[in-house]
């Protein structure tokens, strides 16, 4: 049998781009099929990348050789570190982007990528041979054959747009819906459900009275997502502008709810609770007098302003009416009204951690098709699906990240274990090991995967090595350098506003003081590293060390369950002591590890014990948890340096 490509990626959104770049960079011939080559990595909603927990994922992706961080750095027009006054684990990087330049950057990345071909066509169906996917069937009836296929159709499957009571087929203004694929999957036995998302109006820049809004500038200091990027933004930096809804706004919306497709039963799909439409906000939080909104420019050279926080599907006339009650928007001109989109997604408990469909070999799913929301959630899935599609062709082991290694691991494990009821967005609180899943240590946690996969090499690999080495040696220096309580030390401490020393301490101990940062140590003749990325990461590691240690202990406790693999064909029916509900869930979800089985709601501790005992008696050769150092911390290397 001959194949046209090793891998076909259907869709060129944020998931499709990462999937195809990963597989082609791993040396496999890859075709990207999209209905619109002008909308590659298009930001259909807000013109920004990152945020809390999302910024973490962008960094993780970058560390393993993904593209999103580079594109976001290159097209950044405002930088912010969120939660900067809270602890380092919950700080998140967010940037505003020039959306056209972002799309252009990614388009060029694909066009210049060897082994990768871009095709504009509409995929009507999968080319199935029994329980194997062997490519796709296009609208004109022609076939493209592949060894693995990655579907990243976003919100386009059976998509319907709602504005007021009017509906138009399509997943985004100007683009058609993709019809056929989800019906085919449903016929094959997949559970297909419906979700809803929405976007606000885009406003004409010149129609806004900016004097009535408050300018919000980004941070002075720029920390790029990518370890490869320079530490200065390339583009000029802009401000966003804050305004607020008024009582009048709320009254108009309340008076027109009967024209909202959300409130008259037209929309069945479930929307995200954390990102409600303005209609939702006003109904659900009736006593709130005002909601904030940010006016965000969509780029440096565009007229278009994104109205953050005011997504709506009310009729255009109503949108105009309520927008004019927001200070600054009295004479607003709408470029494109807000709308809601309803679309099909595949219940994600039907895929494995490697993102391959359980019942169709060679078929990988990534992005919103799995019930997620957000560019970052899509991109990281795209990457994992691309790598695994390649591994499937190359007959290598699956590539799966654990929950204690990466937010990406948390995301995928949540999806395939619990499924989702609403568009799934990442939060820091979803990661039980969040204190060690930080932006600053993503390199320490994950870069070895990038190197192993061949996606980080040459100069980049050297840079990674330099950073990791630098951190380890700086930390060991801090441990060995002693600071003595002499007059000059005490004077310097007073200068910093830190209590005097009572006895000599190591530089590491001094750095544990909350008021002392790594650069202060220079005053005490501690040689600091020239790269701030080294100093900052070590500083955080030192200040957090007590908690990091406890977090690692908790991980170690859980590890034997996480490392106990459950055979994919485990005969659950033969295990005594499982209740009907437990049996049903275990057979449906088929957990990959005993740890995952524990996380399935409704599976009790007694069931875990029964499974474990069954494994020990029936599958004595099952891989069981072994104790190994946690890769999430570069402390593991410094012990060898100390001796």
């Amino acid at each position: 049998m001959s194949f046209d490509y090793d891998i076909i990626v259907v869709g060129a959104g944020h998931a499709g781009v990462e999937a195809s770049l990963a597989s082609s960079r791993m040396g496999l011939s890859t075709a990207v099929v999209t209905t619109n080559l002008d909308r590659i990595a298009y930001m259909s909603c807000n013109p920004s990348i990152g945020g809390l927990a999302k910024g973490h994922m962008v960094r993780e992706l970058d560390t393993m050789g993904g593209q999103m961080g580079l594109a976001a750095d290159a097209t950044c027009i405002q930088f912010k570190r969120l939660n900067s006054r809270k602890g380092p684990a919950v700080r998140g990087t967010r940037v505003q982007n020039d959306k056209d330049l972002y799309s252009k950057y990614m388009t060029e990345s694909l066009l210049s990528q060897p082994n990768l071909k871009l095709l504009q066509a509409e995929v009507k169906a999968l080319l199935l041979n029994g329980e194997r996917c062997e490519g796709v069937i296009l609208e004109d009836g022609s076939y493209i054959r592949s060894r693995s296929t990655v579907i990243t159709t976003g919100t386009f499957m059976n998509a319907v747009m709602h504005i007021g009571l009017e509906q138009t087929p399509g997943g985004r203004v100007g683009d058609k819906a993709s019809i056929g694929l989800s019906d085919q999957l449903a016929e094959f036995g997949f559970k297909v459900r419906r979700l809803k998302t929405g976007t606000p109006a885009r406003l004409h820049r010149d129609s806004i009275d900016w004097s009535k809004t408050t300018a919000q500038f980004g941070d002075e200091k720029f920390y790029p997502f990518s370890f490869k990027s320079e530490n200065k933004p390339r583009l000029p930096q802009i401000a966003c502008y804050l305004s607020r809804t008024t009582q009048q706004t709320h009254q108009i919306i309340r008076d027109n709810l009967k024209q909202s497709p959300l409130y008259c039963g037209i929309i069945e799909g479930v929307g995200p609770r954390y990102c409600p439409s303005i209609e939702d906000k006003i109904v659900r939080f009736a006593d709130k007098e005002s909601h904030q909104t940010f006016l965000e420019p969509e780029g440096l050279n565009t007229e278009s302003i994104y109205l953050q926080g005011i997504s709506t599907s009310l009729p255009v006339s109503v949108q105009y009416e309520f927008l004019k009650t927001i200070p600054g928007l009295e004479n607003v001109k709408v470029i494109r009204p807000g709308y809601a989109v309803e679309y099909d997604f595949i219940e994600p408990t039907q895929i494995w951690h490697r993102l391959e469909a359980r019942t169709i070999k060679g078929l990988f799913l990534a992005g919103q098709i799995n019930g997620t929301s957000g560019y970052e959630e899509a991109a990281v899935q795209g990457f994992v699906a691309g790598v695994n599609a390649a591994h499937s062709v190359l007959e290598r082991d699956e590539f799966v990240l654990r929950r204690d290694e990466a937010y990406i691991g948390v995301l995928i494990d949540d999806l395939v274990t619990k499924g989702t009821q609403e568009p799934y967005r990442m939060f820091t609180s979803r990661a039980e090991h969040r204190l060690i899943l930080r932006e600053d240590n993503s390199i320490d946690r994950l870069s070895h995967y990038g190197v192993q996969l061949g996606l980080i090499s040459g100069q980049d690999a050297e840079e990674i090595f330099r950073l990791k080495e630098g951190r380890a040696s700086f930390l060991s220096r801090l441990k060995s350098v002693k600071i003595y309580p002499n007059a000059s030390t005490q004077e310097k401490l007073r200068g910093i506003g830190s209590p005097e020393l009572l006895k000599s301490v190591s530089a590491e101990e001094l750095l544990r003081r909350s008021e002392i940062c790594a650069t202060d140590l220079e005053q005490f003749d501690v040689e600091i590293h020239p790269d701030p990325r080294v100093n900052e990461a070590v500083e955080i590691e030192v200040k957090y060390s007590g908690y990091v240690k406890r977090q690692l202990e908790l991980i170690a406790q859980q590890k034997r369950f996480e490392d106990t693999l459950l055979p994919e064909d485990l005969e659950y029916k033969a295990i005594k002591g499982l209740r009907t509900e437990e049996l049903e869930k275990l057979m449906r979800i088929r957990p990959r590890t005993l740890g995952q089985a524990q996380r399935i709601s409704g599976v009790n501790p007694s069931a875990i014990q029964s499974i474990l005992i069954y494994l020990k008696t029936q599958h004595p050769n099952t891989k069981q948890g072994s104790k190994s150092e946690h890769p999430g911390s570069f402390r593991s290397t410094d012990s060898s340096l100390e001796t």
Partner: protein
């Protein structure tokens, strides 16, 4: 793993009522196939009996010889204590009959149950949680009404409910901290941080109260130990007899659960009082003297109250002073009981009291005579006062050392979280502390899988229930 699953397929049988002679004895048979085995002896049972219905008939052995008139109750699987098919046979309370029936059952394939095996199965089948499993043990072993009541409350989920309530409050706080972290940019009006603080303070206080109640819970389960100390012939045995006789207390030979020598037991304020005589140990032959002293020290260190008996007519001797001083470091309530008060005048009494007070050790001094029981009743009044000081509110107070240890650790995490929370710069660390607390509370409830806990708990179970 100490519990092999192969044997869990067996049908098991054991006496569910205490060993010995009684009105009736109940034999429980559990496991798939119990009915078939029971029908081998109780031919009168229908092949598909109704669950929870009592059947009456003659139980006959393999040769067809009638053994006893019995009442048999059938419980279908999922509706029994263990969750498995279960048959309970009530026969007459004669140990010979019960033993005979168990032997007959064994011959038909019902293996004698291991210690705690019924409860183990009930837990494994999700019929009871770990807290309830533990309280089964307490219920069986409770010798006083209060202890039994408390165990019953636990069995019905009282402690689980309280833990769930604490867990609920902590989770509320975590949710608010998390919202403050994950939605900090959304301009949400979160419950003010002071509300989180208030709630945490409340949880901290409640947990503290439960911890305090542990002492009370322990008393309900283990009883209150009173160690009697004194030179020979100061009236110790008389006091002991006076204490025991008046209450018609059961004098047990040896308490099964403790290695301490217990001279007798009585009940005060619903609490079992265990009287321990340490002097008996001291008056041994020389070569075992050192061992005797060791044991006496051990008994003293475990006692809830130490009663030092003096002969009032002899004053405070040097040996008495030594004894008093040796009690100085003990945590127990210290009482000096002066016997033969009727033989000394008021002046002598004042001097004696002064001499004891001069030692600066917080002793409570009582007096009376063993002849008219006045010393015994003063002592009982004093002990009752002490018991009442301990929190004994009937609810689900802690009674297991395991629960106490876990809750204490959880309490420490809540306290740390409160400290961190006061300075708002590290909500993620406050949340971390609270999540650790929740994990510990889950552990109390048996909601987390830990085979070590399971082993520990089930090792303590006795057979029967």
């Amino acid at each position: 793993m100490s519990f092999l699953r192969d044997k869990d397929k067996d049908v098991i049988a054991a006496l569910a009522t205490p060993q010995g002679r009684g009105g009736i004895a109940v034999i429980r048979i559990s496991g798939a196939g119990s009915l078939e085995i029971a029908r081998g002896l109780c031919g009168f049972l229908p092949s598909t009996p109704e669950s929870h219905k009592v059947y009456y008939g003659l139980l006959k052995d393999a040769l067809g010889v009638a053994v006893d008139e019995v009442l048999v109750t059938y419980f279908q699987s999922r509706r029994s204590f263990t969750g498995e098919e279960t048959v309970e046979i009530s026969c007459h309370g004669n140990p010979v009959i019960a033993k005979n029936i168990l032997e007959q059952l064994s011959a038909l394939g019902a293996r004698p149950a291991d210690r705690g095996e019924f409860t183990y199965r009930a837990f494994m089948n999700g019929r009871i949680d770990l807290v309830q499993a533990e309280s089964v043990l307490t219920l069986i072993e409770s010798e006083t009404q209060k202890g039994a009541q408390q165990a019953l409350v636990q069995l019905q989920g009282g402690l689980s409910d309280r833990m769930q309530e604490i867990e609920g409050h902590i989770t509320w706080c975590v949710a608010h901290l998390e919202a403050g972290i994950d939605f900090s940019t959304e301009g949400l009006e979160l419950a003010e941080l002071s509300k989180v603080q208030e709630r945490l303070e409340f949880v901290q206080k409640t947990m503290g109260q439960y911890l305090l109640s542990f002492q009370g819970g322990r008393l309900l389960k283990d009883g209150y130990k009173v160690a009697l100390v004194g030179r020979p012939n100061v009236g110790k045995s008389s006091l002991l007899n006076a204490l025991l006789e008046e209450d018609r207390a059961i004098v047990s030979e040896l308490a099964g659960t403790t290695r301490d020598v217990v001279e007798g037991e009585l009940v005060l304020e619903g609490i079992k009082i265990k009287l321990q005589d340490t002097a008996g140990i001291r008056n041994t032959e020389d070569h075992v003297e050192s061992i005797g002293i060791e044991r006496a020290k051990k008994t003293l260190s475990k006692a809830d109250a130490v009663v030092l008996i003096l002969d009032g007519s002899a004053g405070v001797t040097a040996e008495d002073l030594d004894l008093i001083r040796s009690c100085e470091t003990l945590a127990a309530t210290k009482i000096v009981a002066v016997n033969k008060r009727d033989l000394i005048n008021d002046e002598g009494w004042s001097k004696l009291k002064l001499k004891i007070q001069e030692l600066g050790i917080p002793f409570c001094v009582i007096s009376g005579s063993c002849l008219d029981n006045s010393l015994a009743s003063s002592l009982k009044t004093e002990v009752s006062k002490e018991i009442k000081k301990t929190e004994l509110s009937g609810g689900a107070v802690l009674s297991q050392a395991r629960h106490f240890d876990l809750l204490k650790r959880a309490h420490a995490h809540v306290s740390s979280a409160l400290n961190i929370h006061k300075d708002e710069s590290a909500p993620e660390l406050a949340a971390f502390e609270l999540k650790e607390a929740v994990l510990l509370i889950f552990e109390i409830q048996g909601k987390v899988f830990d085979d070590q806990i399971m082993d520990r708990v089930f090792k303590e179970f006795c057979i029967g229930k």
